[in-house]
């Protein structure tokens, strides 16, 4: 311990962060966000910086780009790109560095392009700003760059506006922009979290191919340890501004040193064991929900209709979990809303416990709601900000049973305990709760009516993995104890594999695959299902992926 460390020399190339400490200063109060962070990314290497929200991964990325908020303060340490220190640079020096030596692939392709300028003009800017081309000579370079990221028709896309491209295409444009000047370092900030699973995979493959060809150092900022496992050479796990561990992928995934990493790993749904099919066989086989030939169309202004659902049918056995899986626009939300009675389908039948739902109105519909309860995706929006936890959970009882107050309170307390909410939060309002706690409140509100069917609309998608795992465990317990039937609507196949007994895969309003979960995952019947499964992170080892990426 007494050995003096040799003074570190800046590396020849790549990114080197040493002992970086930072804090945010608000109203004179300093709140530390990074404590002595050290990491490095060598040329041609992918380092995944993994952490949950608030871990400091975003601040680190901002510091490397010199785009910190005004109230950020660097307390110590160093950041080097090659021989150049990145701390205390002038604006002018930064402008020469950004775009040319450091590229950024942003999180949300939807908002990362200027909506009122053409794609070509925005891409051209990188070349022009760094004086490599003039405004008039740049076109060829832009077309080449667009072609390089695999856009089908560069000449046409050049003159298009961002809203005319799909999310995946926009992300390709942004990648072209980040890599246009062949920077030494690329920061990819959750580059695919806003994209559908199948698109995600293509985009990640593309980043990887370009890295391999050019020897770029890639800093992959992500919350998703499974994706990091697929895509990175090394992983650095960050928690509360401290490095929990850093090492090569295989070592970190196989033998995690820190307890935190171990917990993260065990919480990742795609790495967890799939639900045992044995459970299914023990259960009674009568149908809790039957959906037959559901059709829904929406009129769009002026031009005809959109077929949102085109003959969707499935059956859910009592006491089991059925997952409706699909990407955005697949019709899964429309189907879900019809089943809970929020939207009347154009045709088709929905039976819940033998009762026809589609024709219900008025008081009948209200009474029906007791039997099917919905848990929303976003626990921030689905709880009235003005009610306390207690009031939220008691309200459904008020709507149905005029029971005395004491009894109502007892019933609510029971359910709140059942979902493991500590009683010190019962009198708080939703703002004062964490995301996981809020979702527990939403589940408690749904359970207090003792429903037969619980519809979970992306109910864990908005939560961090650890919280996600806790909620999934809770749902599993509740199902076993109360004999609930779950209808689990999700885009996330890894979560579905962990919780579902049976699955319907929706694609453009049709069921393209269905059956017991283990069968669908083991032997998918449609191309679309295969693509979705292949896109689950954590599925492929790194070596296999590199080969595939190079050939695709």
């Amino acid at each position: 311990m007494t050995l003096s460390r040799p003074t570190p020399q800046p590396p020849e190339s790549g990114l080197e962060i040493r002992d970086l400490s930072m804090s945010y200063v608000t109203l004179g109060q300093a709140r530390p966000v990074l404590h002595g962070l050290s990491l490095s990314v060598k040329p041609g290497e992918v380092l995944a910086l993994v952490g949950e929200s608030g871990s400091g991964k975003t601040t680190t990325a901002q510091a490397i780009l010199g785009l910190l908020p005004a109230n950020a303060r660097i307390d110590g340490g160093s950041v080097h790109l090659g021989q150049q220190s990145l701390l205390g640079l002038s604006d002018r020096a930064w402008m020469q560095l950004r775009g040319r030596r450091i590229g950024l692939i942003p999180q949300d392709p939807g908002s990362s392009l200027n909506p009122v300028r053409t794609v070509g003009a925005q891409l051209a800017e990188v070349f022009v700003v760094h004086g490599l081309e003039t405004r008039w000579s740049v076109r060829e370079r832009v077309l080449d760059a667009l072609a390089e990221v695999g856009l089908p028709d560069p000449a046409r896309h050049h003159d298009q506006y961002p809203h005319e491209l799909s999310g995946g295409m926009r992300q390709r444009v942004l990648i072209a922009m980040a890599l246009a000047l062949r920077p030494e370092l690329v920061i990819a900030d959750e580059p695919t979290s806003a994209l559908d699973a199948t698109v995600q995979r293509h985009v990640l493959d593309m980043i990887d191919r370009l890295r391999a060809e050019r020897g770029t150092a890639v800093l992959l900022v992500t919350h998703d340890l499974a994706m990091a496992g697929d895509r990175a050479d090394r992983i650095a796990v960050l928690r509360n501004g401290r490095l929990e561990e850093q090492g090569c992928v295989t070592a970190v995934l196989a033998h995690p040193v820190s307890a935190y990493t171990r917990r993260l790993l065990s919480d990742i749904p795609s790495l967890a064991p799939a639900r045992s099919p044995a459970i299914l066989r023990e259960r009674r086989r009568d149908a809790a929900v039957t959906v037959e030939n559901l059709v829904q169309r929406f009129a769009t202004r002026g031009r005809g209709t959109i077929q949102a659902l085109d003959g969707v049918s499935f059956e859910v056995a009592r006491g089991t979990t059925h997952a409706i899986v699909g990407e955005s626009g697949s019709g899964k939300t429309t189907a879900m809303r019809a089943i809970v009675g929020l939207q009347r389908p154009a045709s088709g039948r929905i039976l819940v416990g033998g009762e026809e739902v589609t024709g219900l109105r008025g008081e009948d519909l209200r009474q029906f709601r007791r039997r099917v309860q919905l848990v929303y995706q976003n626990p921030f929006a689905s709880l009235d900000p003005r009610q306390t936890v207690r009031a939220i959970v008691e309200e459904p009882l008020l709507n149905f049973d005029p029971v005395p107050r004491a009894e109502r309170e007892r019933a609510a307390a029971q359910v709140l305990e059942r979902v493991a909410l500590p009683d010190e939060v019962w009198d708080r309002r939703p703002v004062a709760l964490s995301g996981g706690q809020r979702q527990r409140v939403a589940i408690a509100r749904a359970l207090v009516l003792k429903p037969e069917v619980l519809v979970l609309d992306e109910a864990v998608s908005a939560l961090d993995v650890t919280v996600q795992a806790q909620i999934l465990r809770l749902l599993d317990e509740l199902q076993r104890d109360l004999g609930l039937t779950y209808l689990f609507v999700s885009h996330d196949l890894s979560v579905v594999r962990a919780i579902a007994d049976s699955v319907s895969v929706l694609h453009r309003g049709r069921v393209v695959d269905d059956g017991p979960a283990h069968r669908v995952f083991a032997a998918p019947r449609s191309e679309h299902t295969r693509a979705l499964i292949a896109a689950i992170p954590g599925g492929q080892p790194r070596s296999a992926r590199t080969l595939e990426g190079a050939t695709s």
Binding site: Y376, N378, A381, D384, N399, D464
Partner: protein
């Protein structure tokens, strides 16, 4: 342990403009409102001098020890007139905002809650009202109703109906589409119960905040109409009218136009500040 919604992506960087008016800015605003309200309720507690009859021999005196804000052409104490005038300003604004809020809420609620064709027709009518400059609409109404303080307040109120209707409708639509309202129906709530328990409490703050901001506008409008001479007749100490009367002595007695104007501005700034802070707190 927070949800990913709170996760700040790399891209929301600069937040250089923190709250534009600091929290401390609200203290003077509330002070102004309390003082003016007190003036309106009991003007004689604050000044012993009359607002309507002047002291002979004390005409057009500059601000000084006897008359902190000076006197007018009839020897009336300007401060006393401003204090007594608070009542007219506040009463006018209250009537105007009351009319606008009541009629506007009703129209907006119906349009927002019923939706469909009713909504389309009502909102088109609102668009028409908004296409006519507010002052001209007030003037048209005053031609019909005649001159006087109540007529002016009513005219200003009617012109704000369209604005209120539009706000209330959009508020109703926002709250109606909120997940928690759908969830309340989903857990068996009846229309009336959901309206009472969720929609109303969640819209009321922003509506009140908007009413506050709108009352600032109403005070400006009323003082403008008073200035043009359509409101209370002399010798009423209405602030707009006082400025109009002071114009005749603009070259010699600057205080006659300056101080009533400052009174108007102080009140308008104060209600605006309070209203905006309510909106921010609600957001």
């Amino acid at each position: 342990m927070t949800s990913r919604d709170l996760d700040a992506p790399l891209l929301t960087t600069s937040r250089r403009f923190s709250p534009r008016l600091p929290r401390l800015g609200l203290v003077p605003a509330w002070l102004v409102l309390i003082v003016v309200l007190a003036w309106a309720v009991g003007p004689t507690l604050f000044t012993g001098q009359s607002a309507t009859t002047g002291l002979p021999g004390a005409q057009l005196q500059a601000p000084g020890l006897d008359h902190p804000l000076g006197t007018d052409e009839l020897g009336r104490d300007l401060l006393a007139r401003i204090i007594h005038g608070a009542r007219h300003t506040l009463a006018g604004a209250t009537v105007a905002v009351g009319v606008g809020l009541l009629a506007g809420s009703l129209i907006g609620l119906v349009a927002g809650a019923v939706g469909g064709r009713t909504d389309a027709i009502v909102m088109r009518a609102v668009d028409v009202l908004l296409a006519i400059p507010a002052l001209l609409l007030s003037l048209s109404l005053i031609i019909i109703l005649g001159f006087g303080p109540i007529q002016v307040a009513l005219a200003v109120g009617v012109t704000s109906v369209a604005t209120f209707a539009r706000l209330i409708r959009s508020e109703v639509l926002t709250v109606r589409q909120a997940d928690y309202v759908e969830a309340a129906f989903g857990s068996g709530g009846t229309f009336a119960r959901v309206l009472w328990r969720h929609v109303l409490p969640n819209s009321v703050t922003s509506v009140l905040a908007f009413a506050a901001i709108q009352s600032g506008w109403a005070i400006l409008q009323i003082s403008t109409l008073g200035f043009l001479g359509y409101g209370a007749p002399p010798p009423t100490p209405e602030w707009g009218l006082m400025i109009a009367e002071g114009r005749n002595y603009m070259t010699t007695s600057w205080w006659l136009t300056l101080f009533p104007g400052l009174a108007v501005i102080a009140v308008v700034l104060a209600v605006n500040a309070v209203g905006r802070s309510m909106l921010r707190a609600d957001a």
